[in-house]
Assembly symmetry: C2
Homo-oligomer: 242 residues x 2
Amino acid sequence: MRVEIWSDINCPWCYIGKARFEAALEQFPHRAEVEVVHRSFELNPEAPAMAEPVVPLIAAKYGLTLDQARSAELRIAANAQQEGLPYLTEGRDAANSFDMHRLLHFAAEHGRQEQLLDLLYRANFAEQRSAFDGARLVELAVAAGLDAEAAKAVLADPDAYADAVREDEATAAALGATGVPFFVFDRRLGVSGAQPPAAFAQALEQAWATRPVVPLLAALPGTDGGEACGPDGCAVPPRGQG
Amino acid sequence: MRVEIWSDINCPWCYIGKARFEAALEQFPHRAEVEVVHRSFELNPEAPAMAEPVVPLIAAKYGLTLDQARSAELRIAANAQQEGLPYLTEGRDAANSFDMHRLLHFAAEHGRQEQLLDLLYRANFAEQRSAFDGARLVELAVAAGLDAEAAKAVLADPDAYADAVREDEATAAALGATGVPFFVFDRRLGVSGAQPPAAFAQALEQAWATRPVVPLLAALPGTDGGEACGPDGCAVPPRGQG
């Protein structure tokens, strides 16, 4: 079974939702047969490249005072803490996450997507130093087990893995996602938001219980296609055909 | 859209079917949005590690004379040739393919699965030298862009990626596959065998046309889960909750 998780590094509920999903997966009896794939979703593709402090950004977005924005961050931090996740309520920043998503696709090609995603979340939500910085991103890529020069080359070329990010986003739209985190089980069942672990457990059970034997498309009329090999050997075309 | 292809290196119809599928994919208008994943299927998990000549094997399996077995190979070769694939009808051998499948999973982690699979097929079906040999497999891994020492380490450890191979095979069984090649479109539609390109084109069209907006699982009653971030910002828990 495959679970695809759309998320953005700028999204605190993605950070929290990932931990909640993992808590459910840890208890799932068939967890060894669950493959998790992380997919890109930019909450704000127009966000500036230069990082800005989060609290004033929130205040402006919701029409809050700075104190009210700080309170909102504290309440999100309390949710993070319940999942054992560190969360910095003062001094975080936010910026365009496109380069992070491109780097995550590069990491996926080298089997290091999960490692890099966790490091990006930690860097963004729990560390004072900005994660929106090329040199920092290379450090995080190396910490995830990737090659520094290769990571630099990816970051230096804005086209590298750009199509992969756009494709993830197009797929999310096609599947009906309007926000993140967005969890999709075998392309048949979706879960939106940082649900409690019990909801993810239910989704895992339901997707598992209803996993289909796929219907076979019949061979086209008039063709003799469909030759296959099975335990008893391979189909051999009749004499005069080949 | 994701297409999973179960195959075995020992399977000539997998070699031919892959080319036929690719011919259809090449013409598919949405091919940029199609992801292809290759999955493991051992036709004979009990096959000996030591390679044996194919023609006598076929003769024994089907109760044919050696000349009849050679004719059968020639007819399969004619099918290969129609797809532009070289095919050696004399001197090929066969053996246990488990190590090849383990190596393909290692290659997948490094984004080199497709390259290695094509090289394995060529080595097995079109080259005199046996592909069922550790040193040859390392050469092919390097030709596919993988690290020689890492490939050697995978081959030397029989547990490396063994679970990944077994999982692919369990999934194939769960999906109803009894032979290969077996093509599955988004886990919703299956195609068995080396169908003509027109059948693969039809399957691509049909899977694309019916790709679903996934139904959303509702939040569990009694929870306030499902907080998400969207284009307009992130949900903020109400005061007194966090």
